[in-house]
Every structure is written in structure tokens, then in C-alpha cells.
Symmetry: C7
Subunit: 98 residues, 7 copies
């Protein structure tokens, strides 16, 4: 999938991972989360928000990170038939280490 | 279309793109977004908000950028029969690269 | 109409323009906005809000500017039989250039 | 009426003017505002709020100013049978010039 | 009444004055305020809130001041059979001068 | 009761005092507060919140202080059969002097 | 349990302790908290939030701390069949000392 989205501010583009896929971290999401995935891979990272002096605050995630995020976080967009999410970095809960 | 609007603060003027138009980025918007477009072209860009010292914070988008924005973002205005939207830059999610 | 109102802070006094009047910018407002005008002419401009050091933040609009503003913005007052609105500058969306 | 109230912070004491009185500015208030006056004369002015360094922010109105304020602004108190209002300066919309 | 309360932050301890008592300022409270008094005498004053550098912001009222406060302001406590109120200084509207 | 809780931030641990116990300050709480005590003794004090530079803001109460707090303030925890409350210092109204 | 989660910002990963387990601190949680545990062990700690200059604010808890947290705090995730919670440090009430 060639990605053509450049997220703004502290936003990131995430491709949700299907719940059935067990990650190398052995992580499963609880049954109550079945409708919406809570795990995904980072496809693109924004330049970061600006602090009160107008300077960029560095982002803590990078492309290819596996991340956990709260249910219903982000806005859904479809690219080449795949659903992706655009959300703010502070909607992310944790990075799943590989 | 000659545009005569000069947006204030961190506002931008966006002309929504019809969902049927496939952009060069191969981007489609999901079915649930049919009523309101989520993609548009930037027609005008405000001077930016002022930080707490009264200086302008630079804008991250420019005229002719293709942008994604949240459903229901912005205020609708009609110019020469075309619907345009005026919204704040932080209502924008991402720039669609060409 | 002689105006005798001196707006406080970042407030401005706006005389709404009738929707039927087409401005020189060829701007029309959508049908859904019929009850309340969204376009007006600036009659008076406040001195600006104070920043956290107590200094005035300069205003971005001036008397005679044609402005767009959100529906229901401002407080209605009647002067010599005409309805005017007093609103804050950040309720303004854009300046309509002549 | 001898006034014995010293307002605190950025508060002011206002005596509402009856709607029937046409001011020298030829200002009338709209019919929908009949129940509560929106115009008054300033009887007393507080010392101003403190900024984040603890210094006073100067007030923009002074005793005897005729002011416009939003409906329902302020707290009603009765002195010698007259109703007066105590409100914050930012509840004021404009000064009516004489 | 010996007072044993030391208010914290910008709080003050106020003993409400009965509405029937006309103060030396000739001040009456409106009928709609009958259930809860809006006037009282200051019994104790806290050390003041801290500003963002951790320094105390000075209080504007002192013990024995007669003050006006908004209905329902503060928390009721009973000392030796008397009802007193503990409230924040910014719940006070004005000092009634003697 | 040996206490094993170290409160975080500006939190304190308070053991509520029964309403029947008259304190040395002769303080009674009003009847409407019967269900939940509003008076207690401080068992532990957190290190204080951090100001915007990351430094600790000193706490105004210390262990063994008798304090008044708003009804429903804090979170209930049971230690060795006794109910204690963990609350933030700004939920405290006053110190009852002994 | 090998943990593979790296929490972001001021988030921590907590494994809730069953209410039946009496900790060495002799701490019991009240009956009204039966549905959701309020006590847990810290499995992982984020790098801390950034202050307004972009520097990290140090965390006050560390791995293996026993902590108390408000009911319903955090987001549930399941790892190897165990339920864990990801929450922000300011959802924590206190550290239970061993």
C-alpha cells in the first residue's frame, strides 16, 4: 500500500490490525473490544504540535511501531480499500515491543 | 472561481471535493461519510493565530493543498453557487500528497 | 446612522447585511442560513483583549470591513430602528474583500 | 443614592436604566429584551483582576459610563429600594458614548 | 464566639447576616434571595492562593469586613450553634463600606 | 493503626471523625451533613503537585491536622476495618485549630 | 508474564490485584468496590509527560510499586489471558508501602 497522507500537528496515521492476528508480543485484546480494533501499525507520523513558543514538540512514536489505542479513537478513512485511522498521538496508550 | 474571502486567525477556506472524484492518491472515503465530504482543496489560508506574546504561529497548509478534515468541520458558505467551508487549521487531519 | 457604541475588549459592532443584497464579492449565503444573516459591515472595533502581560492584542478587522460570522454569533441591540450585533472578533470567520 | 459598595476584582456595580428611557445616543433595546434591561450606568468599579504576576489589570470603564451588558449578566442587589447589578467587566459589551 | 478555623488557600470564613438586619449602608437584599443570606461578616481569611511561581497572591478582604456574596456560595458549617460559611474569595462580589 | 499509604501528588490521607465527637474547637457539623463526615484527621500528606517548572508546590497541611472538607470529597479505602479517605489538598476547606 | 508494552507519556501499565488477596499492608478495599479492583502492581512506567518547555516531568511511581487507583480508571487490555490496565499516573491515588 503506497501511502499518500501527511498527517498534521501531532497526528499519526494508523492501520488497525485485525484482532485475530496474535502479535509477537502474545497480546490479545478483550472480548468487549471486538467491534473496533485497539491495536495497529503506524503508517505516518506528523511533525508534532507546537509548544507555546511555536517550536515543535518531538513525537514519541515512529513509522512501523505497533501501538495500542483507545476504542473509538481517531477518524476513519479508506485508502485502496483498506480502512485506516488518523488520530492524535495522545490517543495512543502504549507501544507494543517486538 | 475568483475568491474574495480572507480568512481570519488560523482559519482556512476549503472547497470540498466530491466523493466520486478519485484523487491521484487513490484515496476513497468510507461509505459512512457519504452525506458530507471529508476531502477538499485549500482556497485561502489565514495569517495564523497569535501565540501568548502576540506573534503569529505559522500555518502548516498552503493554497492548493488537498486536505482531509473531520466530518461536520467548518461553516458552510456559498460563493457563485459553489459550497465552500471555512474551518480552523486544527480541524484538518492530513495533507493528501500528490 | 450615527454610531455611539464603543465596544470593549476584542468586541466589534457589526451591522448585518440582508441576505438578498449580493455583495461585490458575488457571495451568497446558503438557504439554511435564512433566519439569521451571516454577513455584515463593521461599524466599530474595540481596543483588543489584553495578553497575559496586560498589553493589547491588535485587532485584525477595521471599520467598514465586510465580514462573515457564524450563525447566532453576538448579542442583538437596536439603534434608531436598525438591528446591530456586538460580538467578539474570534466569532468572525473571514473578511470579504471588495 | 449614596453608594456603599466597593466591588472586588474586576467587578462593577451597575444601575440598570429603564428600557423606556431613550438615551442621548438614540439607543433602543430590542423587544425580546423587555424583561431584563441591557443598559445601565456604572456606579462603582473594582480595582481590577490580578494578572499572573499578581499585578492589577486596569479597568476599561469608569464611574458614570453608560454601558451595555448581556441579558441575565450579574447578580441583583437592592439598595434603598433600587435594584442594582454587580457583574464582571467582561460581561459588558460596549460603552454608550454621550 | 471564639473561632477556631484557619481557612486554606484563598478561602474565607463568613458569618451570614440575617436579612432583617438593615446594615449601616442601608442595604437590603431582594425578596428572591430570602432563603439564603447574601451578606455576611468576615471571620477569618486564608493565606491566599499561590501564583504559578508558588508565591502567595494577597487577599483583598480582611477580618470584620461586611461582604456580599452570591446565593449558594460556600459550604455550611455549624460552630457553637451558629451557621457559618467557608467560601473562596472570588465568590465574594463586593465589600459593604461602613 | 499503622498506616502504609504514601499519597501521590497533592493528595492527603484523612481519617474521618465521627460527627458525634465534639472537637476541642467546639465544632459541630450541620444536620444535613449526617450521612458523610466533613471533619477528619490527616494521616499522611503527599509530596505536593509540581508547578510548571517541575518543582514541588509545598503542602499547607501536615500529619495530625484536624481538617474540614466538602461532603463527597475523596475516595474511600478501608484499612484494618477503618474507612479512610484519599483526597486532594484543594478539597480541604480549613484547618480546625486545637 | 513477559511484558511487551511500553506506555507513552505519563501512562503506566498496572496489573490489578484481586480483592481477596490481603496485601502485606493489611489493606482491604470497601465492599462497594467489589466489581472493579482498586489496587494493583505497576508493570511498566512511561517516560513522563512533557512540560511546557518540552522537557520530561519525572514519574513518581516505579515498576513493582503497589498502587491504589480510582474505580474505572484506565483502559483494559488482555495479555496472555491476564487483564491489565493502562492509565495515567494522575489516576493513581497512593503507593501502598510494603
Amino acid at each position: 500500500m503506497s501511502l499518500n497522507l501527511k498527517p498534521l500537528g501531532n497526528r499519526i496515521v494508523v492501520e488497525p490490525l485485525e484482532q485475530e492476528e496474535k502479535t509477537s508480543a502474545g497480546l490479545y485484546l478483550p472480548d468487549t473490544a471486538k467491534e473496533k480494533p485497539q491495536q495497529g501499525v503506524v503508517l505516518a507520523v506528523g511533525p508534532g504540535d507546537r509548544d507555546e513558543k511555536g517550536e515543535r514538540i518531538p513525537m514519541d512514536v515512529k513509522v512501523d511501531d505497533i501501538v495500542l489505542f483507545a476504542k473509538y479513537a481517531g477518524t476513519e478513512v479508506k485508502i485502496d480499500g483498506k480502512k485506516i485511522l488518523i488520530m492524535r498521538e495522545n490517543d495512543l496508550l502504549a507501544i507494543v515491543e517486538k
